[in-house]
């Protein structure tokens, strides 16, 4: 797999403040990469450096075939950037906003029209193409921002806090849009966020940034194993007809360390993946299993650990 982003010791300082500290990072082509971290960790600064919108103090960065610190013009014709508060011209219509972007990217009239219609349909805003943007809801603006990014048919898009300030419905819609972009158009997605639980489900890999340093990097499951060891798993099970006998027999299952009750769920702290054994034990005790799953744990805790240090 070719690399979409590769940085080496990328550093940005403001006076004596180190915003990004020797960041070395690589993102593969076709990947959805989650760039997580609390506010002020240096996420936006990193993105700005990768787009040449701010100068790096030292280090190097490549985005596809271009040196991100020098070849700005070429770089910006293959990268899309959705800033945190997407700026749109409020007195222009959705279509006019996109038309400006199309012109800046040198698209001819026919091609621009085609591309705009396609991009608006892609994010579900085709019906409001002629409406003035000033009246759009936050979710719509955000989706129009995505459409705007698509106009130039980028190879990689940078989304900075795309879900900030959206209601749950808006978040879902946006995440779906992002996933389908990645799957159907093959665009590499670099998404920064401090909302771990929202973003983790769409990311192939995540990196956690804290005070300018990358403190964890990898797939979500992999990270939790890194943090809490291989032989650690939490199983949640919901059963019908639960009683004392069941709880006792579950505790007897090999590998189960402890058992707790959380609402309708029984939560088992286990040494290994013993879901099959747990299910069998439940059935043998005469209860029926309604749901059984492993809790994707660890990352949240890991994340909080770094947050609390702030």
């Amino acid at each position: 797999m070719a690399l979409a982003i590769e940085t080496q010791d990328l550093t940005k300082t403001y006076g004596s403040f180190v915003a990004v500290d020797k960041l070395s990072l690589s993102v593969e082509e076709g990947e959805v990469f989650g760039f997580l971290g609390p506010n002020g960790a240096g996420k936006t600064t990193t993105i700005l450096m990768l787009l040449g919108l701010t100068q790096a103090t030292s280090g190097s960065a490549r985005v596809h075939d271009y040196n991100a610190l020098h070849d700005f013009m070429k770089l910006r014709s293959i990268t899309g950037y959705l800033p945190e508060n997407v700026g749109l011209y409020d007195d222009l219509t959705a279509e006019e906003n996109l038309l400006y972007t199309a012109r800046l990217n040198g698209l001819g009239r026919e091609k621009a029209r085609e591309r705009i219609a396609w991009a608006l349909a892609r994010v579900g805003l085709a019906e409001v193409a002629q409406k003035v943007v000033g009246k759009f809801s936050r979710g719509m603006r955000q989706r129009l921002g995505i459409a705007d990014v698509l106009i130039k048919q980028p190879r990689i898009v940078f989304l900075d806090e795309p879900t900030a300030g959206l209601d749950p419905e808006g978040v879902n819609q946006l995440l779906n849009n992002i996933t389908s972009l990645n799957r159907e158009e093959g665009i590499t997605v670099f998404v920064s966020s401090h909302m771990l639980h929202q973003v983790q489900k769409i990311c192939h890999r995540v990196g956690i940034l804290s005070r300018g340093r990358m403190v964890a990097l990898g797939a979500v499951g992999e990270l939790s194993r890194q943090a809490f060891g291989q032989d650690n798993m939490i199983i949640e099970i919901e059963v019908r007809g639960e009683d004392e006998r069941l709880r006792d027999s579950l505790k007897q299952v090999k590998g189960v360390r402890s058992l707790e009750k959380e609402g309708p769920l029984l939560v088992l702290d286990c040494e290994a993946d013993v879901r099959a054994e747990v299910a069998r034990a439940t059935l043998e005790s005469g209860c029926s299993v309604l749901e059984i799953r492993s809790r994707a744990l660890g990352l949240e805790e890991l994340y909080h650990q770094y947050f609390h240090e702030e």
Partner: protein
């Protein structure tokens, strides 16, 4: 080039459709028309005494019947405003609304943004000024009944050019402040402050400096001609730092064939002079330094704009 044109196109559409353009068009148009109408009334009642009587048409722009200032002073008063009003928020408004980071993440150089916006504002002003001039000319034809001579037309065109350069200077200054300051109000006030400084305080300052460099005796009669000349010339030289002074001298000279000299001349110098009007060519030679100074000032403020803007970090807020 392509992206410059894209910016230009969008900005021009914005400017021409904006309310502020409309308001200023009405204001300057109405004032200019009124001033030149008054001037035609004065011309008809036979107020002409200048040696350039043959240039009746130009008098319409220069003459004041007493109540209203002439067309030229009207324009020279409003020119800084016109420049300011179209560009004082060019960059910082896009910064605060977050559109700038989206704009700059497109394949476009930053100077193309500045240039495109400047050109669009300049064309807007050109359209405004040209339509007002044409209106005034039409009014003159109707009331005076004298068509302008070829030279008069050329002089009006030269006047248009000089005025455009002058407004361009204020635009570039306003653009610079829109890059320097984050807030829209600050950038507007900064330009207004500079304008007020040149308009009201510059003469006091240049006078004070001249009195120090080339002092005059308290009793006026005891000063030699040379001493007086030295004082006045010093004052003029310092005064010409001001773009207002440069423009006022340049625009009246270009429009008025009767203006033969700028600054003081002694009696002995004009004693045998035949008071004939200057040709346009000679008028232009007289104010060529003024025009180049105005262009140079514009370029300096552009250069600072480029340097500052290139290094700025653009974040959405």
């Amino acid at each position: 080039m392509r992206s410059l044109f894209a910016v230009f196109q969008k900005e021009l559409a914005d400017q021409l459709g904006s309310r502020r353009f409309f308001i200023f068009l009405l204001m300057v148009g109405f004032g200019g028309l009124l001033a030149s109408y008054m001037a035609t009334q004065a011309i008809r009642s036979g107020m002409l005494q200048s040696p350039s009587q043959s240039f009746v048409f130009l008098q319409m722009f220069l003459l004041s019947e007493g109540v209203l200032p002439p067309f030229t002073s009207f324009v020279s008063f409003f020119a800084p405003m016109l420049g300011l009003i179209l560009t004082f928020d060019a960059i910082n408004r896009e910064k605060t609304s977050g559109t700038l980071s989206r704009l700059l993440s497109q394949p476009i150089t930053r100077d193309a943004v500045i240039n495109g916006k400047f050109l669009a504002a300049l064309v807007t002003i050109a359209v405004m000024l040209l339509s007002i001039l044409i209106l005034v000319i039409g009014l003159g034809l109707r009331i005076l009944g004298v068509p302008p001579s070829f030279e008069e037309v050329l002089r009006i065109i030269a006047y248009f050019g000089v005025t455009l350069i002058y407004i361009g200077f204020w635009m570039s200054l306003a653009m610079l402040f829109s890059i320097l300051s984050r807030r829209v109000a600050t950038s507007a006030l900064a330009v207004i402050a500079i304008w007020i400084f040149f308009a009201f305080f510059m003469t006091i300052i240049s006078g004070a400096i001249a009195d120090r460099v080339a002092p005059l005796k308290d009793d006026v009669r005891t000063n030699t001609e040379e001493e007086v000349l030295r004082n006045v010339r010093t004052q003029d030289m310092i005064g010409r730092i001001s773009p207002l002074q440069l423009y006022n001298e340049a625009s009246t000279t270009v429009l008025h064939p009767g203006v033969r000299t700028l600054g003081p001349v002694s009696y002995s110098q004009v004693a045998e002079l035949i008071p004939s009007p200057l040709s346009l060519r000679q008028s232009l030679v007289l104010v060529w330094p003024h025009i180049t100074s105005l262009i140079a000032m514009t370029l300096v403020s552009f250069a600072i704009s480029y340097v500052v803007f290139m290094r700025q970090e653009i974040r959405s807020l």
